[in-house]
């Protein structure tokens, strides 16, 4: 299954060290950088902000999904991070974001990856699923929730 290509145990941070939207975006992108998924940290960040000014990716329900299709992405990836108390993220409903998904897609992202992201986006709209992601105790538990595509 393709989601295993996008998210691994190295793409998860259960304790995001950030207190602002900018810090969160940088911290998430640093994980991409560490995983060698991007060719330029600054370049990728700039593409994320370009997307962010169109509409905030703080989509409400405590979720933020900063993302970019960017030429600096060398490995299509999703980073998952959690913040227990929440960070202001210009959310549509004003609620702080606790669940973060940074999506990094190359400009020629494959259909199968995009389909996985579409399914994940749909799942995130369900409260039970969000609660399970918040309650998961270990990275392994998070990973098995993310890998469950039904």
């Amino acid at each position: 299954m393709v989601i295993q290509d996008l998210i691994t145990i190295h793409s998860i941070d259960l304790n995001l060290e950030a207190s602002t939207k900018d810090e969160a975006i940088h911290a998430l992108a640093r994980i991409l950088d560490k995983n060698q998924a991007i060719s330029s940290f600054e370049g990728f960040i700039q593409d994320v902000y370009e997307r962010e000014v169109m509409t905030s990716t703080g989509i409400g329900y405590g979720i933020a999904i900063p993302h970019a299709k960017s030429k600096f992405v060398t490995k299509p990836s999703v980073i998952f991070a959690r913040h227990d108390t929440g960070i202001p993220f210009d959310a549509m409903d004003g609620k702080d974001a606790k669940l973060f998904f940074m999506i990094a897609m190359p400009e020629d992202g494959t259909q199968s990856h995009l389909k996985v992201l579409a399914m994940l986006s749909r799942k995130l709209m369900h409260r039970d699923y969000r609660d399970a992601l918040m309650d998961a105790k270990t990275k392994e538990e998070v990973l098995s929730l993310l890998y469950t595509m039904d």
Binding site: I59, H67, K69, D93, Q111, L117, R122, M125
Partner: protein, 110 residues
């Protein structure tokens, strides 16, 4: 069962489009309305609305941050909102159509 047709779309087309579609479908289920939602994402157009779907529907919800060609919805009550409203206010949008307080779309006015 009453039917409502929807179109969702967003600039990158990798997440919001599907989130709004899921919310509209979930809200429709709860309100006892048959929802058919066309997603215009980076995968391309999925679940495309047919002429029959549009003809059968009591109205249209477009939740999009990009321009959608509305000509095919001529003569239908039509709500056109940014994508975030589709995600945040799916129930209210459907209820507005059910209540019948929505202006009928006339493409010659565009």
């Amino acid at each position: 069962m009453k039917k409502i047709v929807c179109v969702t779309a967003c600039p990158t087309g990798i997440a919001h489009t599907y989130m709004a579609a899921e919310m509209l479908e979930t809200a429709g289920k709860a309100l006892g309305v048959d929802i058919k939602c066309e997603t215009n994402g980076s995968i391309g157009v999925e679940n495309p609305l047919t002429k029959k779907d549009i003809a059968e529907s009591i109205g249209v919800i477009i939740a999009s941050d990009i321009r959608i060609d509305k000509k095919r919805f001529h003569g239908k009550p039509l709500i056109d909102v940014p994508i975030r409203k589709g995600i945040q206010e799916a129930y209210a949008l459907i209820q507005r159509l059910l209540d019948g307080y929505v202006k009928v779309y006339d493409h010659t006015e565009d």
